[in-house]
Point group: C2
Chain length 227, copies 2
């Protein structure tokens, strides 16, 4: 489903070049459950943004279900992002003026779902992450971990075939973290693909394969027995 070949990403600030990814080759098959680990600044979020079609590489080829993403139009990219990919951002990226309900509802509006169906799906998604009593709260009326869970609910609400989660448990206590991992586990066992960035070994233990980044390159890529 995901084929990355010789991918590099170089950010530019003025005349300074910052290499974030230096030649990454990686393939992820449909239905896999992969975690991406590595030190702070090693390029994990940059890689996730490329996989999620939120950014383009400086060089290299990215095939998503055999189609070359580099040759897609903006409309095609937006369509893939909205319909097939669920993205949990490291910084949550919630709409500040919308409450939890409306933030989670957004992908369903893009998908053209009816109001009654949306109501049911959003309430179910927020209940799954334990926020049924916080539906009307805006992001700044929620705790850090509650905001993160709204971001998780929004990513899961449309049953995505590909879930990209960047540090989805960074602000959560262990019990709440494991509840989120159970949700991911259910999505995975229905045949969907999960790519998860984490720095927590006990969270990566849920995945079936661990890819480690170091200074913008893959330093190891190993299958494992999940917990």
């Amino acid at each position: 489903i995901i084929q990355l070949e010789a991918i590099s990403k170089i950010y530019e600030i003025g005349d300074i070049k910052v290499p974030a990814l230096n030649g990454v080759d990686m393939e992820i098959d449909e239905g896999e459950y992969v975690s991406i680990m590595g030190p702070s600044g090693s390029g994990k979020s940059t890689l996730m943004n490329l996989i999620g079609c939120l950014d383009t590489p400086t060089s290299g080829t990215y095939l998503l279900t055999s189609e070359n993403v580099g040759e897609m139009t903006d409309n095609e990219l937006a369509d893939i992002r909205n319909r097939r990919i669920g993205f949990v951002f490291q910084t949550f990226n919630l709409l500040p003026r919308a409450n939890a309900f409306h933030n989670v509802e957004l992908p369903l509006i893009y998908a053209g779902m009816s109001k009654d169906d949306r109501q049911e799906k959003v309430e179910y998604a927020l209940e799954k992450v334990g926020l049924q009593d916080r539906m009307k709260h805006k992001p700044n009326e929620l705790s850090g971990g509650q905001r993160q869970r709204v971001a998780v609910a929004r990513a899961l609400v449309n049953d995505p075939s590909l879930l990209l989660a960047d540090e989805p448990t960074g602000n959560l206590d262990s019990a709440t973290s494991y509840e989120i991992m159970d949700l991911f586990g259910k999505l995975h066992s229905s045949g969907n693909t999960i790519v998860l960035v984490t720095h927590e070994e006990d969270i990566a233990a849920y995945s079936h394969r661990v890819v480690r980044l170091l200074d913008g390159r893959i330093s190891s890529d190993e299958k494992q027995e999940p917990r």
Copy 2:
């Protein structure tokens, strides 16, 4: 140094009341190293904001070095915040348009320090958190964990007598987290007071006392042998 008596905090959204803290009694002596743990939404950040004079309780008394914070003027509160307290926010709270150097420099400008002294102190603080090569980067040109480390550098730059750190390692890999904990250890061994919110047991293990919150109340408060 910190005496909280019957502290409660009730947020109001329209006509809904959200009790975040329900009667908290806690004393922290000068030079202590305390961690605050508890589930997501249990009131940890609310408690930290009250201790850091960033918010006022709905009821109860807060004495900081025996002075009643509830009776202080805004100027006195701002003075305490800027000169004596270093705060690492759960959401970093960096100025988006200022680079890493200028974000860390801010407390020193408030303290009226000379430009040359500021230059030296800021470079030293950013070097300590491993970001000497990212001084000119703005927050959106940094990784999540790098932004968090800029927030840590800003809190430590003025050698605060009280450090309040809310989830300072949530976005960091273990090696980088332990480097930050070493910095906190040095600040503590010079006689300063540290209050640290974390959901990570291995981070709380550095502290000498663990206070656990549950639904806005203290459920346990125990001294421990630090690692």
